[in-house]
Amino acid sequence: MNSLTLLQVAWVALRVNLLRSILTMLGIIIGVAAVIIMLALGAGARYDVDQQIKSLGGNVFVVFARGRFMGGAREASGSSQGLTEMDAQAIEQQIPEVNVAAPTLRASGQLIYGNLNWAPEIHGVDNKIYTAQSWELAEGRSFSDTELASAGRVAVIGQTVKRELFGAADALGQTVRVNKMPVTIIGVLKGKGQNTQGNDQDDLIFMPLDTVRKRIAGMTLSSPKAVRSIIVQVTDERDMAIVEQQLDSLLRQRLRISDNQSGFSIRNLAEMVETRSQTMQIFNGLLAAVASVSLLVGGIGIMNIMLVSVTERTREIGLRMAVGAEPRIILKQFLVEAVLLCAMGGLIGLTLAVAVSLGLEYFAGFTAIIQPQVVVMSLGFSCLIGVFFGYYPATKAARMQPIEALRFE
């Protein structure tokens, strides 16, 4: 008996008991669908995180001064110095693996334009920030050397700030007031949109470091060139570990901090995001485990029905044996039936999973990615379940004595 005939015979047997076949498949359908959906959501979350890391730069460290620098007088009285622009320069020059080290400051304040006001993040930067954080200009220009050296009253604004204050109108050349100081808009950044935490990345304004340091009220600094943080971009992501060590020893030396003190922290943004995403991963793993259990239960359902089917069809088995079916062919026939049942269940489950994933993406805003290997794996796995749980009933059928099977009532 060739395999095509076997398949046909199995198909006919399943079709004859259509409703029962479908009900039997249900366990596999739900199990496969659940596994695929969980893995798709997991892969989607993973993808989101990767995108976020990419947008932050997987090759970026942020160095913070700890307790040495803050916007208030209270903390300005620290005995040793905090981070300065010179530290950023030193990092860039003395660590060859570093592409760029951008010093930054943060301040808060109100922007007023006409009768509108808006409170974005105010960043003091130099032009290295464009490379370090992958910003691009949509229009206008970046700061000139003169503006950087003389605390020029100029600003580059993000897309959100432009939209809120200027709408569709031209922002270039307009003057806004930042904490009462008039500042001219010379450039507008290209939008980055929301990050995966849902924060707007475009709600910010760049001004030269000195402008923020000297002209935004309320800043008392530990040193004239003090900065809040330095964004360090490494040329090759594989050098992250080396650079982290070098940063540590360089800064300890420059800030005169001994090995057992901590005066600064070096953070890798990618790591931070990844840590956050791990919780999500564990959750997904748990759901996938639950889904696997439902697959297992589905498999047991298959075994149960196959056992019933074997008993019900005892006379048929006897007849097939009487007309010349060898035990191994009877075994194959029932195995093929179980595998066919599972394979069809797997296919239907896959279809269901695709539909649900699309629904989740469309209506609930999830990212769901069904990877081809997951499809192959889950279909292969459902066939395996068929073999595993179909084997015992099939052996039971194959071991029957023809005469007893024919006499079975």
């Binding site: 008996m1 060739n2 005939t5 015979v9 006919v12 004859v16 006379r315 048929e316 006897g318 007849l319 097939r320 044996m321 009487a322 007309v323 010349g324 079916a325 060898e326 035990p327 191994r328 062919i329 004595q401 023809p402 005469i403 024919l406």
Partner: protein, 250 residues
């Protein structure tokens, strides 16, 4: 002397039921030649079916030997026995034993599925056999759409399809009324005339009279083996139908 199809030598079948030992067949030695039409008779429980199952390779003897087409059947594996059944034997059962929800054609070609006959050839042969039993126009009917007599004829077509050396029929008329029973016997006689070797189990002497040789079993022993001139099933059928017509007319 014509060619021997099946031969048994001191055949015994014992059953162990609880503590009881039952000799269902006792020392049966017999030879069935090609072209024989044998009726196996005897009261219920005399061992007719047991004997039939032995020579049909459905069950193994406790002692003694069976030679089918000169080949000894003892010591064969289940798989080898299945091959022997497929090649040499066609079964007809009292309860027809057709596959439900399966067309007459597919039922008939079932034995051919198990010896890898090419699909087209199998279909052609199954169709020819159905035509032979007078069901050439019922190929696609399922058992539930056929009368009892028609179902039994499908079963006979199935028994014929692989051109076996031996046709075994265990009470083929048992589930049928007199007229359809006679029709089935007419068909078997026809096959006998074409040279088929047939063994028929029955406990009705009227039915046994259509065979050319009668074996009588009692308590597992063969107590008589005689040949006779068979009655004609066609003639009896014609007679029966004539009577029916008269009854209707009156």
């Amino acid at each position: 002397m014509s060619h021997t199809v099946v031969e048994t030598k001191a055949l015994e079948k014992h059953y162990q039921m609880g503590g009881q030992h039952l000799r269902a067949l006792k020392d049966i030695s017999i030879r069935i030649a090609q072209g024989d039409f044998v009726a196996v008779m005897g009261p219920s429980g005399s061992g007719k079916s047991t004997f039939m199952n032995m020579i049909g390779c459905l069950d193994a003897p406790s002692r003694g030997q069976i030679l089918l087409q000169g080949e000894a059947l003892t010591q064969l594996s289940a798989a080898a026995l299945a091959k022997v059944r497929n090649k040499y034997i066609g079964f007809v059962f009292q309860q027809f034993n057709l596959l439900p929800r399966t067309s007459a054609l597919d039922n008939v070609l079932l034995p051919l599925l198990y010896n890898n006959t090419p699909r087209d050839e199998a279909r052609a042969r199954a169709q020819a056999c159905l035509q032979l039993v007078g069901l050439g126009d019922r190929l696609d009917h399922q058992p539930s759409q056929l009368s009892g007599g028609q179902q039994q004829r499908v079963a006979i077509a199935r028994a014929l399809v692989n051109d076996p050396a031996l046709i075994l029929a265990d009470e083929p008329t048992g589930a049928l009324d007199t007229e359809t029973g006679l029709e089935v016997m007419q068909l078997l006689q026809q096959l006998h005339q074409q040279g088929k070797t047939i063994v028929l189990v029955t406990h009705e002497s009227d039915i046994a009279a259509f065979a050319s040789r009668q074996l009588l079993f009692k308590d597992g022993s063969l107590i008589s083996d005689r040949s006779s001139i068979p009655h004609s099933a066609s003639a009896e059928l014609a007679l029966l139908r004539q009577q029916r017509m008269k009854e209707v007319a009156v």
